[in-house]
Symmetry: C2
């Protein structure tokens, strides 16, 4: 059995990739399970070296990788060249986070007259299954944030190739396998399987200890349900798309034209195929905000070629559903008209239609957005409470002295993973302070992040050693605990935190 590789620009089949059979799936999981103890016992600095080797290999193949991905995704060379670089930088970043050692949470309570000595440290969970996204072939792909943070945390990875760009995935896996072997990483620290059934079997495999997923709600929740039916239930960290509300304050309406331009730029970026796409704009009544956005869309006239035929069809169906749910199309920009193209569409809806359960409150993946007018703050706040959890929420006010902006920021903080002020939500920096997650159903695990330093914490579990002298501790624990602090990592001893 094979899966086809398509060109979204004309729907042509460019090639095909063989699906993994059951034996290959079992072998990939087995290799990861065999590698797990030795990976867990490496130093963080050693894993940093592996990740840097993969990053260097990505940089070395930047042009060819971007070309391959452009053929399969139509995301365009400038974006994809940048994304390869970004992915390499991310891998180096996760290596630095590992070497920093803060993620280990090393905590020591020395023995007292009444209490035993306790040593607590985060240990890798073991083999992690990674399901990358369609919309970021590199940054959230088989060598993206999930794989980088899992390996940094000491977990082998078995990735599943994405059917939207299978040949790109295959090439990435080849490059990573070669780079990891050359860097001296154990066999099995990374492997990849292909095919829907292999993906399902991967989540069911006894030796898999956690799942990282980026993609649609239906896909993420399906894997979550499979994992919940295992004999040993495992955590699924599914980061799923959301509506990502934007609020324009009353005073912010002074900047409506500029804001409308920015909104169009953000919701049509990458053909609207961002999990952080701003899908719902709340604007103060009386400024004809929807018309302003429609005009900006008309002027920008983006051409949207979608990643897959299914996504293109869902955009059209989604607009139809939004209209059925009470929205009205107020502006449109035609797709390129060939291949898997879609129109970029802006709709408007009465704020009263935003009631729990309405289709208007669910993500519509693609270059689609809704503009809603609010009469006053109480109407706005009532509508915000109807929203599901989101990855991001954004506020556009009038400079730094806009009291309404502060009030909306405080409210959004209870509903989203990231609140931006005057910034569009698309664009997720890999950084120490990043949070790419959010309340259900933005993610299946609201306290987790799939980007940033916190991403490693998904793949570890604390273990406490009681009354175990240092020289009897497992080697990787001992090196993190001994007084010499050879890894130069932060530790908390008797309740007092000390840097390296």
């Amino acid at each position: 059995m094979t899966i086809p590789s398509y060109s979204p620009r004309d729907g042509r089949v460019l090639g095909e990739v063989r699906e993994s059979n059951q034996v290959e799936l079992a072998l990939a999981v087995r290799r990861a399970a065999v590698a797990a103890p030795s990976v867990a016992d490496t130093t963080p600095a050693e894993r940093q070296r592996w990740l840097a080797a993969v990053a260097d290999a990505l940089d070395a193949h930047q042009e060819a990788l971007a070309q391959l991905a452009d053929d399969e995704s139509a995301l365009g060379m400038p974006r994809l060249l940048g994304e390869v670089s970004r992915t390499a930088e991310q891998l180096r970043f996760y290596g630095r986070v590992a070497a920093d050692g803060g993620y280990l949470g090393v905590t020591v309570d020395e023995a007292t007259a009444t209490a035993p000595r306790l040593v607590r440290i985060n240990r890798p969970l073991g083999p992690v299954a990674v399901f990358g996204a369609s919309n970021f072939p590199f940054a959230f792909g088989v060598l993206g944030n999930d794989t980088g943070s899992a390996i940094a945390a000491g977990c082998p990875v078995v990735a599943k190739a994405h059917p939207a760009h299978p040949r790109t995935c295959l090439r990435l896996a080849e490059i990573a396998t070669e780079a990891l072997a050359a860097a001296g990483a154990p066999d099995g620290v990374f492997s990849m399987v292909v095919g829907l059934q292999a993906g399902v079997d991967l989540v069911k495999a006894d030796d898999i200890r956690a799942v990282g997923f980026t993609g649609s709600q239906s896909g993420g929740l399906a894997l979550w349900r499979i994992a919940n039916e295992r004999q040993e239930v495992i955590p699924v960290f599914a980061e799923m798309g959301t509506v990502n509300p934007v609020v324009l304050t009353s005073r912010g309406a002074r900047h409506l034209d500029e804001m409308a331009k920015g909104f169009v730029g953000s919701f049509t970026l990458g053909a609207g195929q961002f999990c952080t796409k701003p899908g719902l704009l709340f604007a103060p009544a009386g400024h004809r905000a929807a018309e302003a956005v429609a005009a900006a869309l008309h002027q920008a006239a983006p051409e949207s070629t979608m990643l897959t035929q299914a996504i293109a069809e869902n955009v059209t169906a989604g607009v139809r559903d939004l209209v059925k749910a009470g929205a009205r199309v107020i502006g449109k920009a035609g797709g390129p008209g060939r291949g898997w193209s879609a129109d970029a569409v802006v709709l408007t809806a009465p704020i009263g239609a935003l009631t729990s359960g309405s289709r208007l409150l669910e993500e519509c993946f693609g270059p689609i957005a809704i503009v809603v007018e609010y009469a006053d703050e109480s109407e706005l706040y009532a509508a915000l409470t109807q929203l599901q959890g989101s990855l991001a929420g954004s506020v556009f006010g009038d400079g730094e002295d806009d009291p309404e902006a502060a009030a909306v920021i405080a409210r959004l903080a209870g509903q989203v993973g990231r609140v931006t002020l005057g910034d569009w939500p698309t664009g997720v920096a890999w950084a120490w302070a990043q949070q790419h997650g959010g309340p259900w159903p933005a993610t299946s695990s609201p306290s987790s992040t799939s980007v940033g330093a916190g991403a490693l914490e998904r793949f570890v579990r604390p273990v406490t050693f009681q009354s175990v002298p240092d020289d009897v501790l497992p080697v990787s624990v001992r090196d993190a605990v001994v007084p010499e602090n050879p890894w130069r990592i932060p530790r908390r001893v008797d309740g007092v935190l000390a840097g390296p």
Copy 2:
């Protein structure tokens, strides 16, 4: 409708407690939801003061509380007096952890030429439902670790009274309510409901954001399933009982008699009603370890009065099931013979009977343990891999130079939340470095702990503020972030961790 309060010593009904009706349940949840934003905006030091006030009130009522709990639990005054003190200390500890502020995970990446400013901080989830345990009316009860850590983290709590000691729960709720009000805490920061249906409705209530549970696997998994069927799924932190294996090494066998005495003391402590009870001892063949344990049990002759009639019946049924699964009773000490008494029983089984799915590998709550002999390390290790995840695992060797002990510690670290060397697993210190959790099915959330400083992390969720100047941040975030660091908390700025 009422639920009865029983005396386990003779099965007599001592009184009754009225169940909460739907209106009362809804009101408790509503009060918690209304309190949530103001509790979230208090300083950690303020919440420390509330918890200290409750702790002082517990100390002031120590004698009467212990007496009430002894009537309902038969756990004995010395143990219960100590447990009231311990519970007060725990509350003070969680207050200190809050005030330390490390749990907030404050992280700031200042803006660069290419990246926006990011401020990340853990924010309270909102109202938490707490289901305490039968076996620790105080320390793991309605004012126990879950409630203490949730309030410390800034979350209001709605606790459910435990049917094994409903009058004790009611009194605890009165004391807490009064102390919190006197300390100036907002109405709704703590309340309690009574009854099975109220408990189910509590987990289903829209405004509840997380669940803390300590108890049986059947109870914990039932709540986990209910939470997974909500429209907005919420995290359930269920800490459930486990087998907690103990390994005696070959060289450790020199100390068999002393070890057997300690084993009996640990597995019959509190009538074996500990989630950390050591239930399965692996001993080297050729030392008649099972006989030694049986002799120690005979000599200790513990009297076991169980907490409830159901638990007492399950002990008897459990022994029958273990025998059916291939174990043999080798020693027994009679219960007191009246009320809900049970025999303490030690069994032995061939190591080959420990296969995945066997009843021998599941917890048998109560004063029951199994001794299994292993021929060599490979037989021992093969058996260990069959075990489910456990809260704790213990190793008894011969001093600090026993290489077999180190090897077993390294293996157990992959299967349990806490590994002890030469210490019995019963007894869980509340401390910075504690880990009271473990892989599924020890808990529903293997990376969480229900005791120790890490317990707060269950009830928070990170939020990142992008390009938001300090004076526009919500007040509780601002105070954690401003350069003056008024709360004196640890923070990571531009990747560098700094203490207060």
